[in-house]
């Protein structure tokens, strides 16, 4: 299975990662290699085996529904690039 330039551009746009024109071919090759490895694994017969969603064969632990977190807004906003009136500020999002 091979990944083309268009695929790389689409994936990088979706992931919000910039891939320069020079890098595209190289990234396409790398991604293709990953898919090839999966294709190889696909060849293994897994009939009758329940798919796992997690490599650990364990179940989720649960937390009591009790408030354990306090307000540390001032601390967190000190390291934010921009904050005002308790809000984190980001470049305007046009809807």
């Amino acid at each position: 299975m091979s990944i083309g330039k268009d695929d790389v551009n689409k994936i990088s746009r979706l992931a919000a990662i910039s891939v320069s024109e020079q890098e595209v071919d190289q990234v396409a090759d790398k991604l293709s290699n990953i898919l090839d490895l999966f294709a190889q694994m696909q060849a293994v017969n897994t009939d009758g085996i329940e798919p796992m969603s997690h490599p650990l064969d364990q179940v989720q632990r649960l937390r009591e529904d009790v408030i354990t977190e306090n307000n540390h807004r001032d601390k967190y906003q000190k390291i934010a690039p921009s904050a005002e009136g308790g809000m984190y500020l980001v470049p305007q999002v046009i809807e």
Binding site: A16, V59, L62, I67, E69, M87, P91
Partner: protein, 475 residues
């Protein structure tokens, strides 16, 4: 051939827990911005989610109520997209293995016809934060208090064929989640949000392209928005155009929908299982324990009110309209033992007063016990039904209990027959001409005498006795 409308709804019901779905931050509404947003909620690296125990029984209760299959092993997935109110870059949701699986349905009634609306699934997920667009010039403010609030997203089949059906389904769902005690149903605060997928096609052909109407916080506006959208799509298709798949916002002031964002690429969410969370396993014992604690559902309650209390279908529907209303009514009946009388007062004076002040039954200044106290005084003939309304108004104004008000205002009904007889004599003596007329065959005069006696007694004479004594005196 006419167009057929196809509507499916996605409803986000906020689960009424104390804390977020994956962190111990409070989800109380109305807190100062970002004071309920901890490191995990902010999407800081190195933070790990731990599932809130309280969300599972709530979701399962819903699944059981709609007759769906419960996912014995449900899995959390990452839904990837970028928006500043979602700092992790993905929403933790459920995709392939939801907690509430296929098989559920809800019955709705439109124009006297019952229709089954299928429920595709319901899954657990986290809410995003809030974006504030108009407060900071050139910038958007982000409040992450809401980020991580537990939601149950309830997805219907595209089974609805009109705006009326869609609203009937949404209302039914709104009533159900409140009855189940899993969601407070507060639409103004966003606890219950309805997204409508609307498309049109010619019957027998594939479904048309749909538009999604988002974030409409009243049933009336949902209906108007869908009606507008149907008309818009018909106009486009009939003039040879194409409907674009997109999210549209409803503007209630202009009564129109307008494009928010085209969805072509945003649809590519690249779901994959969240490696930070393990599968959630639900056992038969868990399910049976939850089933054993299921509250009575509205339809069962309605049937019981008709059967057990002998109420009409209308009264039963009215009183089961919300769980709070039903609980109030049942509390009154438990004291008064008279369902019909209790129903009349809850549906009459009480509802009238609640409506006038625009408040909910939970906020009623007259408690169920206090109302029952008033009914007891009608039942033991201390006051008449008419005086009781006066007492009720005083109770509504916080003037005290029924007994206190009756005593303070001297409203106790006169049941002493010699006292009533004196009043009757007084009235007959003062109205000699009318008595003459009555004796000459003007039967209608009788009502006039009753009225006069009630008037001189300031409404406090027992009406039954007044009638009896008048009849005797005039015969």
């Amino acid at each position: 051939m006419t167009w057929e409308v196809v509507i499916g709804l996605e409803i986000h019901a906020q689960l009424n827990t104390n804390t977020k779905i994956f962190s111990g931050s409070s989800i109380a509404y109305g807190a100062e911005p970002n004071t309920q947003a901890n490191l995990l909620d902010l999407g800081m690296p190195g933070q790990l989610p731990v599932l809130n125990k309280a969300v599972l029984p709530k979701a399962i209760r819903f699944g059981l109520a709609v007759g769906a299959t419960i996912g014995r092993k449900s899995v959390f997935d990452r839904k990837n997209y970028f928006y500043p109110d979602l700092p992790k870059g993905y929403q933790t949701s459920q995709f392939s293995y939801p907690i509430v699986d296929k098989g559920g349905f809800l019955e709705i009634e439109v124009d006297g016809e019952i229709k089954k609306i299928g429920i595709t699934r319901a899954h657990l997920e986290e809410d995003a934060g809030k974006s504030v667009h108009d407060a900071f010039p050139g910038q958007t403010g982000i409040d992450l208090n809401r980020a991580g609030t537990p939601l149950l997203e309830i997805v219907s089949e595209p089974d609805m064929r009109s705006a009326q059906e869609a609203v009937a389904y949404a209302r039914k769902m709104h009533e159900l989640v409140q009855y189940l005690g899993i969601c407070d149903g507060n639409m103004q605060e966003g606890s219950f949000r309805v997204d409508s997928n609307v498309s049109i096609h010619k019957p027998g052909t594939p479904f048309g392209t749909r538009a999604e109407l988002k974030n409409i916080n009243s049933f009336k506006f949902i209906e108007q928005a869908i009606e507008f959208e149907i008309a818009r799509q018909i106009e486009i298709l009939e003039s040879g155009g194409k409907v674009v798949q997109e999210t549209r916002l409803y503007d209630s002031e202009k009564n129109e929908t307008r494009s928010m964002r085209a969805k072509e690429e945003a649809n590519d969410y690249r779901y994959f299982p969240c490696p930070d969370l393990l599968p959630v396993v639900v056992t038969d014992e868990d399910i049976e324990a939850i089933r054993a604690e299921m509250p009575e559902l509205p339809s069962a309650k309605r049937a019981r009110y008709v059967f057990e209390f002998g109420l009409s279908d209308y009264d039963a529907s009215f009183l089961t309209g919300s769980r709070a209303m039903a609980e109030y009514f049942e509390a009154v009946v438990s004291h008064s033992k008279d369902a019909k009388m209790s129903a009349n007062w809850v549906m009459g004076e009480l509802s009238k007063s609640l409506n006038q002040q625009g408040i909910d039954i939970n906020e009623s200044p007259v408690s169920a016990e206090a109302l029952a106290g008033l009914l007891a005084r009608i039942q033991d003939n201390t006051i008449s039904g008419k005086i009781a309304k006066q007492v009720f108004d005083a109770m509504w104004n916080q003037e005290g209990s029924a007994d206190e008000i009756i005593a303070a205002k001297g409203l106790k009904q006169i049941t002493d027959s010699s006292a009533i007889e004196a009043l009757v004599d007084e009235v007959l003596a003062a109205n000699a001409a009318q008595v003459e007329a009555y004796r000459n065959g003007q039967d209608k005069m009788f009502g006039y005498f009753v009225g006069q006696v009630m008037k001189v007694s300031q409404g406090q004479a027992n009406p039954g006795q007044v009638n009896e004594i008048l009849k005797r005196k005039l015969s």
